[in-house]
Amino acid sequence: MPLLRIEGVAKAFGNFRAVDRLSLDIRAGEFFALLGPSGCGKTTLLRMLAGFETPDEGRILLGGKDIAQALPHERPVNMMFQNYALFPHLSVRDNIAFGLRRAGMARGDIATRVDEMVALVKLDGMEKRKPDQLSGGQRQRVALARSLARRPQVLLLDEPLAALDKKLREGTQAELMELQRRLGTTFIIVTHDQEEAMTMASRIGVMDAGRLRQVATPRNLYEAPSSRWIAEFVGDINLFSGEITSRENNRLKVATRGAGTLVVSELWPPVSNDVVNVAIRPEKVKLSRRAPASEEGGSQAINRLDGVVTDVNYLGGVTTYKVKLESGAMVRSSVANTARLDIDAYLAGQRVVAWFTSDDCLVLEQ
């Protein structure tokens, strides 16, 4: 039995179906991310877990008990708000102690717990300050300490890093992960930032139009997207539409419109439809001046595409190229800048061979 089981939960606002019969299991101790474009229903789902919205149908089982209709203050779940929602009239100490006082904890125990939380989020010396005397990063820590003080079974985080600047955000991501590992609390984070979800979460649920499109580890989400939509939503990808012409030795031959016949390793479960897209991530498309020898692919088949470089974008760590194929189709390739000097760089107008192995690409149904 998972710690949290969401069963056929639905919520509509008027005619708009924010969450549409969604089911999901979350295990104890997981760091789970709900990822999706704005308006996909991820925040509504989180608010139903916190108790701020009541599902129209379905059950939410926490430790086997249905809490779908319970009021917020009756749930062993706490939330960290996107705008932090710190009480402006209370000091840092009183903000953190708020939930403990409501729980009827003894005065001495509250003091001990607050000290513990203050140390945990490194806010020593700030206890007497009011929220408006703190920086954005410090406020974020108070909000975190306040939501963790009651030792919830599940901590809900609504875009917890959205209000921080980039540098601070990266540091805070690492701290959140460290904290989660140390406490063992189940974290459910809502974010629209896929990099953030990839970095922190052990599993990611991608939502669209009130439904879960795919639930997977960050690696599987990126390398084995279940659909074209996921492949395009998570990261960057080249797509060639075509038709499967043969299936032998676990390899598919796909006749594509833009890139001729491509060889793709068969996926499990196999695709049922013959009309597919061949998908390849830009960093897996290699460039060379001459056609690569077939040994470079090892035991795999190599797909070769001849073309001309049209665009070069130097981004520091990587350089991205756009290569125009003879068919007129474009292929994007990103190459890590492993050498400081530009001996490997290609110039716009240069003829190149873009190539990738059959294992590095995959087929996706329409």
Binding site: H73, N78, N83, A85, F87, F98, R102, S147
Partner: protein, 304 residues
């Protein structure tokens, strides 16, 4: 940019205009009143001495100045008619303010929780009575409260009373009038603070284990204190000096300062004592005014 640059040209005029207004329409008239309060009553035109005549030279002016005294203020302290009317004014103002708060807070709270569209409608409904003259509205209350007025007829029709109740010329009538007249001044500042309160704060309180009732007392009320203070002072200050409502609706056995002042001025023609009473009233109202100003400033700082 330096302060000097900001206050150059027309901008400087705009900056001193309020002070100019204060000097012309408050400080100068107050100076006259204060001077009269230090004079003696006389059967003359104007009805007090001394009169400063700037055409009669410096010595005459100095002699006139020597005649000024604080006798009228001593009279105010020694005669308990004045002390009692000050006390009554403060009592009436405190009681009214408490009633106004008890009625106004739920109304403002309800308004702030309406959907945006309806908030504007509710706001108009609160303000709409101002479109009718204040005096006419008080006369309307006389009509409602009189022996065969609307209120008594309703009570009789509902068999809640067997014979008409005397409302007019009672404190009850006065409180009805005051509460009715000042309610918008209580509701509007309360509404302003409650409407801008972040709804996620109440969610956070609930999330941290507070019941809706606890969330109200621990979060909503403390955060609306500036509004409570502003509304209370905005009502308390003018009610202390209120004249029309007690004069028209209350009985004549105990008077508020405003009425005493009116009596001294118009009936007894004792301008100096009336002026002294007015100056004293103003002095009594300075502390709450300063408090109000400080609350306003703190709220402005809080917003920036």
């Amino acid at each position: 940019m330096s302060a000097r640059r900001i206050f150059a040209g027309p901008a400087r005029l705009a900056a001193i205009a309020p002070y100019l207004w204060m000097v012309l329409f408050f400080l100068v008239p107050f100076g006259f009143v204060f001077k009269i309060s230090l004079s003696q009553t006389a059967i003359a035109q104007p009805p007090y001495t001394p009169v400063f005549d700037f055409t009669e030279g410096r010595e005459a002016l100095a002699a006139a100045f020597g005649q000024l005294s604080f006798d009228n203020f001593r009279l105010l302290i020694s005669d308990n008619l004045y002390i009692l009317s000050y006390l009554r004014s403060v009592m009436v103002a405190v009681t009214s303010t408490v009633i106004l708060l008890v009625i106004g807070y739920p109304v403002a709270y309800g308004m702030a929780r309406l959907p945006r569209r309806w908030q504007a409608v509710a706001m108009v409904l609160v303000i709409v009575p101002f479109w009718t003259s204040f005096l006419i509205r008080i006369y309307a209350w006389i009509n409602i409260l009189q022996h065969d007025g609307l209120l008594n007829r309703i009570l009789l029709a509902l068999h809640l009373v067997s014979s008409p109740i005397v409302w007019l010329s009672t404190d009850t009538a006065m409180y009805i009038g005051i509460v009715y007249s000042y309610l918008p001044f209580m509701i509007l500042p309360l509404y302003a603070t409650l409407a801008k309160m972040d709804a996620s704060l109440l969610e956070a309180a609930g999330d941290l284990g507070a019941s809706p009732r606890q969330a109200f007392w621990l979060v909503t009320v403390p955060l609306s204190l500036p509004g409570i203070g502003a509304g209370a002072l905005l009502c308390f200050i003018p009610i202390v000096g209120e004249f029309v409502i007690p004069d028209l609706l209350a009985g004549s056995n105990s008077l508020m300062v405003g009425q005493t002042l009116w009596l001294e001025f118009f009936t007894n023609k004792d301008w100096p004592v009336a002026s002294a009473a007015a100056v004293t009233l103003l002095a009594l109202l300075v502390p709450p005014l300063v408090l109000y100003d400080r609350l306003q400033r703190r709220q402005l700082e809080g917003n920036s």
